[in-house]
Symmetry: C2
Subunit: 276 residues, 2 copies
DNA sequence: CGCCCCGTTGACAAATATCAATATTTGTGG
DNA sequence: CCACAAATATTGATATTTGTCAACGGGGCG
């Protein structure tokens, strides 16, 4: 007997115990209908916090499956400023490109120690030929990422700083939590600094600080030294000005087909209530 | 003999003459390798300028293929403000959802008279079973949309008003032009108002106006009453602060496989030079 | 123990929004 | 072709939000 509780954390190579399998490309495997992409996997990659999976403008042939850790997709400006485009959580597919010659338009950085498994493009093509549902799954994942981007666009384009920061924290909380259904968490460790929050919301680190102090003063959320505590879930939902329709992409993408599914609203309510 | 030049404009139902076929889901057909989605098409839809394809929060079972006209994907805020998420040009796939129960997170409005063909979800699944490449094509299209969103996020989050407006105009010019390779245009009719530009760039219509007047004063671009003229392409590229890596998603997605392809830089240069 | 990254705070500057009035263009009907 | 209405663009004065710069504090980690 090698382990009990922490197995999925310490042995990322083992597909059967992979934590990322709850979501992402391999989610279908859980339904016992489809062959696991395991056979098509080539190598694993481990990075330390701060290292890049790849930089902007590179080409490479395949996709990375984020197994453990958080990553940030970002672009850099000439003057050194940065825009974070997306936070990738375990299960994320990283680096899919329309064709093998295309260069990436963004860089990807590990926000904490992270592990990936890599599927070469050729293998992906073979995998899809064998099992077209995988390609539809991939399309769904890309589509969900797009929806997340749409949410961020609305947030950055039309919301106030207070609303943007609130929305980001709520989003990450819900996305993180939806990976462990039934697991109640009151407090969440996030590998974020106020600077990173600013880079994601189109604000300055300094201004994020001001907003966070306000939110704490008002008893809504507390974020200090990478520790998030949600003090008043209902108020947070309210101040984040969430369009309920935008919620769907935050929770895990389900396989199409069987089963009833609760709408997004109760899920949000449950998710946030759990933290109170 | 029914026609000569304008055939593709007036007979949208005819797949063989469809203008959208240069891009989008049916692009593979041109390579004569794959069966046309035509057999799986269900119905056509025609809209007048200003009408909605669908609103936020709706569900529907299938995808729309934009054949003719421009559309805007948008979200609305409580107070009536709007954020435009994406402009869809002919060839765009509209309304793909991860599963059949998902509700849309955005609305889609026709910016001019537009026609679509509709492919029901069931047919799409059958089509993919028959030809998995279509699913990969769909994933590529979603991925490209995501990349476009990433570009907009960087623009809205970190660029000045002047840069944002310049970049949007340049993007639309290049995307439009890449649909007619070899066709030189000096002047482009766009179904946009300054208000629309503001909604897309996270600015106010009034402020967009001020920026446009500046750009005209500086001899860079002229945009008045839906007519875009690029006066100095090089300056425009410069002021738009385009990250060259972000350019790839602007030009048509090519089918993977054969053929050499020029990098994005010369394409941009050619595209913009043509307008001078 | 001490360093360094991160967070905190204040004064001030810059960019953009808001409000309101007026001008121009487009499209429509006669 | 003209007149008119509606939509869109233009401009100025002022308000608000957010950024910039600079200094200081505090906590974790070697």
């Amino acid at each position: 007997m090698t382990s009990s509780i922490k197995r999925s954390i310490s042995i990322p190579v083992d597909c059967d115990a992979c934590a990322a399998r709850v979501d992402g490309l391999c989610a279908l495997y859980r339904a016992n209908v489809l062959p696991l992409p395991a056979r098509f996997r080539a190598a694993d990659k481990r990075l330390k916090a701060g290292e890049d999976v790849f930089g902007a403008g590179e080409t490479f042939d395949g996709i990375y499956n984020l197994v453990e850790g958080w990553v940030a997709l970002y672009t850099l400006l000439d003057d050194g400023r940065r825009q974070i485009l997306h936070f990738g959580l375990p299960g994320a597919v990283i680096g899919f490109q329309p064709d093998s010659r295309a260069t990436t338009t963004y860089g990807v950085q590990a926000l904490m120690d992270a592990t990936f498994c890599f599927i070469p493009r050729d293998n992906l093509v073979r995998l899809v030929r064998e099992c077209p549902e995988i390609a539809m799954r991939l399309a769904s994942l890309m589509s969900r990422d797009r929806s997340l981007s749409f949410g961020h666009l609305t947030s950055i384009g039309r919301h106030s700083a207070r609303e943007r920061v609130s929305q980001l924290l709520l989003e990450l909380f819900i996305r993180y939590r939806s990976q462990w259904p039934g697991h109640l968490i009151e407090e969440l460790r996030m590998p974020l600094t106020q600077e990173l929050i600013g880079d994601a919301t189109g604000l300055t680190g300094v201004h994020v600080n001001r907003v966070l102090r306000e939110l704490k003063r008002d008893g809504i959320v507390e974020f200090q030294y990478r520790r998030l505590r949600i003090l008043d879930p209902d108020k947070l939902v309210q101040v984040a000005k969430i369009d309920p329709h935008l919620l769907a992409p935050w929770v895990r993408t389900q396989e199409d087909g069987d089963g009833t599914r609760a709408g997004p609203h109760p899920q949000l309510v449950r998710a946030t209530r759990a933290a109170a």
